[in-house]
Amino acid sequence: MLESFLLGIQVALQPVNLFYCFAGVFIGTLIGVLPGIGPVGAMSLLLPATFSVSPVGAIIMMSGIFYGAQYGGSTTSILVNIPGEASSVITCLDGYQMARKGRAGPALGIAAIGSFIAGTISIVGLMVLAYPLAKAALSFGPPEYFALMCLGLVILTFLTQGSMYKALMMALLGILLGFVGLDLFTATPRFTFGVNELMDGIGIVPLMMGLFGVSEILINIEQPLKRKIYETKIKGLLPTLQDWVVCKWAVLRGTVIGFFLGILPGGGAVLASFVSYAVEKRVSRYPEKFGTGVIEGVAAPESANNAAAQSSFIPLLSLGIPPNVVMAVLFGGLLIHGIQPGPLLIRSHPEIFWGVVMSMYIGNVMLLALNLPLIGMWVKILKVPYTILFPLILLFCLIGVYSVNNSVLDIYLMILFGVVGYLMRKFDFEPAPLALAYVLSPLLETSLRQSLNISGGSFLIFFSRPISLACMVFVIGLLAFQISSYSKKKRPILPAG
C-alpha cells in the first residue's frame, strides 16, 4: 500500500502531470462557472485533444474537469441564481439569498472549503474501498457483470427527474445505438447501411457532444439567458466562527451522503446534492428558514456533490462499470487510450490508478486556490455575453468532433444527436439513460451472450449466483415499486364521506 501510495505521488508530481491536473481543474472550474456546457460536453470536447497525451495525463486532466466543475458550478448558483452545473441547482436556493443579503463571500467560501474537505475525505474512501472491491470483482463472471450493469441502468432511470417509463425507453434506445458497427462475436456489420465509417460504431464524442453540448445550446438560444449578476462586493470569503459552528456537521453529513450516493450505480453528484439538502433541512432546528439564505443549505449540497464526484470513480476503476454519464465518457477515454477499466486496472496499470488518485489531492488544493483568491476573475468571465460565448462553444464542439477521425460524418452525427437531444428535452425524455446505456451496450451484450453460452440458453443463470441474484432482485423490486406507485397514483380518489 505504501509503495503504491509513493508511486502515485511520484506520478502525480511529475511536472507534465501537474500541468494536466491544473489544466483539468481550471477548465473544469471554467465550464462549471459558464452555464451552457457541462462536464460531459467539456470532457467529450477535450477527448480528442488528449490523444497525443500519455494515458495517465489524459485521465488526470479529464478527472480534473469533472471535480473542478463541481467547484465552479456553485459560483453561478450563488451570484447569478443560474446553476452552472446540474449538481449546483439546489445551491441556488440558499446561496443566492445569501448573496442578496450581502453574504456572497461566506457562501462562496463555505462552498469551496466544504468541497475541499468533502473531496479530500472522499479520496481517502476511494483509496480504501477501490482495492478490495477490485479484488472481489476478480471473481465476477459475465452473469454478475450483466446483472450489475442492469442494476446501474435501472437505478439511473429510477432516479431521473421525469418519467421512469420514458427513461427506460431511452436506455433501450441507447443500447440499440450501441449495436451499430461490427458484431463483437461474428464481425457481422450491423445497422451500418454500407457506411464504412460506421463499422467501428457511432463515436462516443459526436453522440455526447450532440446530446449534451449542441442540444443545450439550442435550448439556450431559443430563449436567451438573461443573466443578472447580483451587484455586491465579494468580501470576507472565509466563513465566520459562527458559520463554522453551524456548518461543520452539514459538511460532514454532506460528505458521507455524497460519498455513498456517488458509488451507487446510477447515482452521482446531482442526486447527492439534492438528498443532502433534504437531509439537512430535515435535521435542522429551523427548517422553515431553508431557502432564505441559510449557510448549511450551501455547505451540505456543495460538500455532497464534490464527495460524490470523487467516489463515483470507485465503480469505474475497480469494477470497470461507469456509474453515471460523466464516468461513461471517462470510460470511453480510457478505452481509446488502450486501457481497460476493471478489476485488473489497479494491478496492471498501478501508475494510472494511484497517479489519478494522488492528482485528486493536488487538484483539490489547486481548486481551493483557484476558487477563493481568483473569484473575481470567474465573476468577470460570467459577464461575457452569451451571444459571443455560444458560437465559441459550438466551434470547439465542431473542431473536437472532426479531429477524432478527421471525418465530416462525425460533424453530421453530432448535429443529428444535437437535434435529437433538443427534441428529447422538449418532450421530457432524459438524455442521461440513453448516453449511459449506449456506453454500456457492448459490455451488456457481451456479458449476456457469454452468460447464455455458459448456461446453455437458460436465463436462470442470473438467479443462481448470489451477486447476480441480489442485483436482479433489486432490479425487479425497483421496477415493481415503480409500477405499483404508478398504479396507486392513477387510482381515482373517492371523496370522503
Binding site: 425507453m169 439550442l218 451571444t387 459550438l394 451472450r449
Partner: protein
C-alpha cells in the same frame, strides 16, 4: 400524459419496427448461441412494446389537450434554424473552403446572424476566433485540417 407523447411514441414504434426487421435479417441464432441479430431484435421488440404502451396511454389520456403547441411556445425559431443551418453548412463546405474560411463564415453567421451583434464586432470577434483556433489546433495541437482555396 401529454399529446406530444403520442408523436414521440409513434416515432419510436416505427424505429423499433424497422430495427426489428433489420435485426431479423441478420442471423438470429438460438438462445444458447445467439447470433448477431438476436439481442438487437429483443431490445428493439421491447422498445416497440413500450412505445406502443406510451402511444396508447397518450392517446387515451390526451383527448382534448393540445400540449404540443405549449412545448414550442415562445421559441425564437430564427436563432435555432440559423444555428442548425450554419452547422450543416459548416460540414458541407469544410473540406472545400478549408478550416479557416469556413470557421470565419460560421462565426459571422452565429455572432452576427444569431447573436445580432454589431457588424464591426462580429467581424473582429470572428477574425480573432479564427486566429486563436488556428494557433491552438493547427500550430499547437497539429490537427490536420483541410486547407482552402489559395492556401487560406
Amino acid at each position: 400524459m401529454k399529446i406530444y407523447d403520442v408523436y414521440s411514441a409513434l416515432f419510436l414504434t416505427i424505429l423499433s419496427g424497422v430495427t426489428c426487421l433489420l435485426a431479423y435479417r441478420l442471423s438470429l441464432g438460438s438462445i444458447h448461441n445467439p447470433g448477431a441479430g438476436l439481442i438487437p431484435f429483443g431490445v428493439a421488440a421491447l422498445l416497440g412494446f413500450m412505445s406502443i404502451g406510451l402511444f396508447l396511454r397518450g392517446l387515451l389520456r390526451s383527448a382534448g389537450e393540445s400540449r404540443s403547441e405549449e412545448v414550442f411556445k415562445g421559441v425564437e425559431w430564427r436563432g435555432v434554424v440559423l444555428t442548425l443551418c450554419g452547422l450543416l453548412g459548416y460540414g458541407a463546405v469544410f473540406n472545400r473552403l478549408g478550416f479557416r474560411l469556413s470557421t470565419f463564415f460560421l462565426m459571422l453567421l452565429l455572432i452576427g446572424g444569431v447573436g445580432r451583434q454589431k457588424w464591426w464586432s462580429t467581424v473582429a470577434v470572428s477574425f480573432f476566433t479564427v486566429v486563436f483556433a488556428h494557433l491552438i489546433f493547427v500550430v499547437w495541437l497539429r490537427c490536420p485540417f483541410p486547407i482552402g482555396p489559395l492556401g487560406i
